[in-house]
Every structure is written in structure tokens, then in C-alpha cells.
């Protein structure tokens, strides 16, 4: 395996590297990239190495009254140990904590999980349920905002252009209320698993037990992770007793077009998705 590598340490150097390098890939946590290179050795490729980038926009978690911002280089382990995320966004905590193994979580980044654009990206699925927005930096030093719902355009394809890089993700903090939030990952074993089906949900209830905010993302069930808008619309403004759970689960299923592969058949994936969707509200 042979590739050239350039290691920017500041944002200015990074933008310069993006501008001046012809054929490049970004290297963040490398857990996916090096696997890919081992299978298909790259030719005439430069890796823009982000691991030594010293820029807080990329590497820190910051909070304001209205949002939380997570840098693209923040690792899964850093997300897991953030108490605020644990309390306010359990779905993101669970998703990060279910990713691969300790060793992988210690280096794998949130930006990498999004930009890899795998149909089974756990962290990406949780971010979609949280209505997160990607902040994309271009070589003109301008930020473009894209909602995670619109970030993926196909298997391993995102809206990122050649002169752009994902800098950070923001999650809105605009509604208060009781949270019902979690990440369901169905796999063929409990650890180191690529999911057969995954579902991320984040609901907020007002003091009258009415849902005032709903977010549901599904993974491993279509070419990209998908936000199930109509299912969210269906439950929004309703109390639990008013929700027909069969109808709700079928609404989620309309977004699923899974494939059959080594992990499970398309039929099985749909059955599982229906069943976990129906039980999202459990004993609430």
C-alpha cells in the first residue's frame, strides 16, 4: 500500500492543501479508509491527514442556549463521555456506544461516520433523528449548512463538493420537555457488528404528554440512511393513546427498500423494522 500524505496543522494549511491537491482523500480516524486501502490499494493518491489539525472548530464540543456544536474530528469515545449528550441526546450516546469496539471508538470520528455515507452508519443515523445540520467549509473559507436529511445522495455519496470539507455538526436545543430517545441496532451478534437494521428515535413530550418534536432515522434499510418524515408528521402533536402503532410502523416501512445480503434478507429486514417501529414507545 502506497500513498502520499500531507498533514495540515491549521485551517489555512488545510484549505491550501484542498485547493492544491489533485487526487485526494481525507484521513480522519482511518478505521474505514485504511480498510479500504488494504482491499484496494490506492494509485497516485494523496491523503490529507486531519489527525494533527489543531483547530477547535473541528475538534471540540461546544454548547450555547440554542444548540450544541460537535467538531467533525470528535471521536465516538469523546461523544460517549460527554455528560450533556448523555442526558439530552441519549440516541447519540447509544449510537456512539454501539459502534464497533473500544479501540475503534477511540479513534473513529463523527465526521468520518457521516462522510463515509454508509447505509448503516450508526452515528449518522442518530444525528438525522436529532435534526442535526452539517456545517461544510469550502476553500473560499465560507460555511454552507446542509441538514443531515439532505446530506446523503447515495451509497457512499454525499453532497460534499471537491473543494469542501465537513467542519462540524450542530444539533438544535430549542424544545424543552420529557425526552424519549434511543438507538435500536439489530445485528447478528452483539459486538463489532454492522447492523442488519437500525432505528434512531428522539421524541420530546410537553407537559400534557403530547409529542411536540419527533425525529426518526432508519439505517441499513435503503441506499442511504433515511429520515422518516411522514411517520414523524403522523405522531407529531398526538398523545400516545392517539397513535395507531400499526399505522405508524407501516409509515416508517414506506421509507425502507432494503437489499438481501449476507447479513439478512430484504424480507427479514422489513419484518424486523416493522416490529421495532411498532414497539418504539414500549410501555410508555
Amino acid at each position: 500500500m502506497n500513498f502520499d500524505i500531507t498533514t495540515p496543522t491549521t485551517k489555512t494549511e488545510l484549505l491550501k492543501a484542498i485547493k492544491s491537491t489533485k487526487n485526494f482523500r481525507f484521513g480522519a480516524g482511518y478505521t474505514d479508509l485504511l480498510m479500504e486501502f488494504k482491499k484496494n490499494p490506492p494509485k497516485d493518491l494523496t491523503v490529507i491527514n486531519l489527525a494533527q489539525l489543531n483547530d477547535k472548530h473541528f475538534s471540540s464540543i461546544t454548547k450555547t442556549k440554542t444548540q450544541i456544536r460537535i467538531g467533525a474530528m470528535v471521536t465516538a469515545s469523546e461523544i460517549i463521555s460527554d455528560k450533556f449528550i448523555h442526558d439530552k441526546f441519549p440516541v447519540l450516546h447509544h449510537a456512539a456506544n454501539n459502534l464497533a469496539s473500544t479501540q475503534i471508538r477511540n479513534v473513529a470520528t463523527i465526521g468520518g461516520n457521516l462522510c463515509t455515507a454508509s447505509p448503516s452508519g450508526d452515528v449518522a443515523c442518530a444525528l438525522m433523528a436529532l435534526n442535526a445540520t452539517c456545517e461544510i467549509l469550502s476553500t473560499t473559507n465560507k460555511i454552507r449548512k446542509v441538514n443531515t436529511k439532505d446530506f446523503f445522495i447515495g451509497v457512499r455519496k454525499t453532497v460534499l463538493k471537491k473543494n469542501e470539507i465537513l467542519q462540524s455538526i450542530t444539533i438544535p436545543l430549542n424544545q424543552k420537555g420529557k425526552i424519549h430517545s434511543g438507538f435500536i441496532k439489530i445485528g447478528t451478534r452483539l459486538s463489532m457488528e454492522c447492523s442488519v437494521i437500525s432505528l434512531a428515535y428522539h421524541f420530546i413530550f410537553d407537559n400534557k404528554q403530547k409529542i411536540i418534536s419527533a425525529g426518526i432515522g432508519i439505517g441499513s434499510s435503503a441506499p442511504t440512511i433515511r429520515f422518516t418524515q411522514t411517520a414523524c408528521d403522523y405522531v407529531n402533536g398526538k398523545k400516545l393513546a392517539e397513535i395507531d402503532r400499526d399505522k405508524f410502523a407501516k409509515e416508517i416501512l414506506t421509507y425502507a427498500s432494503p437489499i438481501s445480503d449476507i447479513r439478512g434478507s430484504a424480507w427479514y429486514r422489513k419484518e424486523v423494522l416493522y416490529n421495532i417501529s411498532k414497539n418504539i414507545f414500549g410501555k410508555l
Binding site: 502506497n2 500524505i5 498533514t7 492543501a17 480498510m35 479501540q103 477511540n106
Partner: protein, 166 residues
Amino acid sequence: MKKKVDTNKIEISFSLNGEKKTMLIKSSMILLDLIRDEIGLTGTKTGCNEGECGACTVLINDVAVNSCLFPAINIQGKNVTTIEGISDGVKLDPVQEALIEKGGVQCGFCTSGMVMTIKGMQTKFKKGKHKPTTEEIKKGLEGNLCRCTGYVKIVEAAEKVIHGHS
């Protein structure tokens, strides 16, 4: 930006098992290959070579990572600890003692990786006040495969070291 010294070669400085080192390496070199083939420390094992088995686990600034999926240039300025640096060469580390005492070593191929992962967990939990449950310890070990022991004795050894009792 790091200057390229030769085409494809980069100079890195780091600390390996407490000893400062400066080396000229190929830019695309993997940390596992640097440790085993260039430096000659073969206690770190090559297992699956794809981040599944954990036999190649080393500590970087006290955090466990798979060295088979880590670019060597990113140890620049960091402290790398391998199995060779875990004890002083005379007295074993408590993690190694516990694995022997509990019978957590059979063929031994996974052992160096296990030791490093348990060491990483021990350091992590020492920093916080939280005492991990057995389930949390098992979760911490999910990236290390062992085909001999059935894991029970390894988990017992980890519990002993992390909880500080037998």
C-alpha cells in the same frame, strides 16, 4: 505543515515505551508494521489486520487503539506503549499478574492485546470516580478476540485489576 524530507518519507518524533525516538518513515506506513518490522518489537501481534481481533492493540497516550488501522505518522509527539513497555522487565504489571493468577492465558496469541486493552480501561476508570460493572468491563473487551479461554477468566482478571480485589 510537515516537510517531506525524501519523496514519500517523513520524519516523526515520538516516545516509545518511555524512550524518545526520531525516525524517518514511509508516509503510508501502518503503526503495526513500524513497531514489528522497523523497530523489531514483536510482542504486538498481527491477527486479522482489519481491526476486528485486537491482537495488535497498543496504547497511544494511554488510550487503546488498533495499531493495524493507525497511520504511523500520527504518533508524532505522542507516547506509544506496547506490551514490551508494560513491565520493567523484572516485575510483571498487575494486569499480567492477574491474567496468570486467574488462568486467563492459554495459547497466548491474544494476550498482549488483552493486556493493553485492560491497561487502557484501568487508566480510564482510575481517572473517573465511576466503578465499572462487569457488563461494562465486558463491553470494554469487545474488540479483543480469544479463541481459547472462553473469556470468563480474562474478564475475572480484568475485574480484579480494575476493582482492586480478587
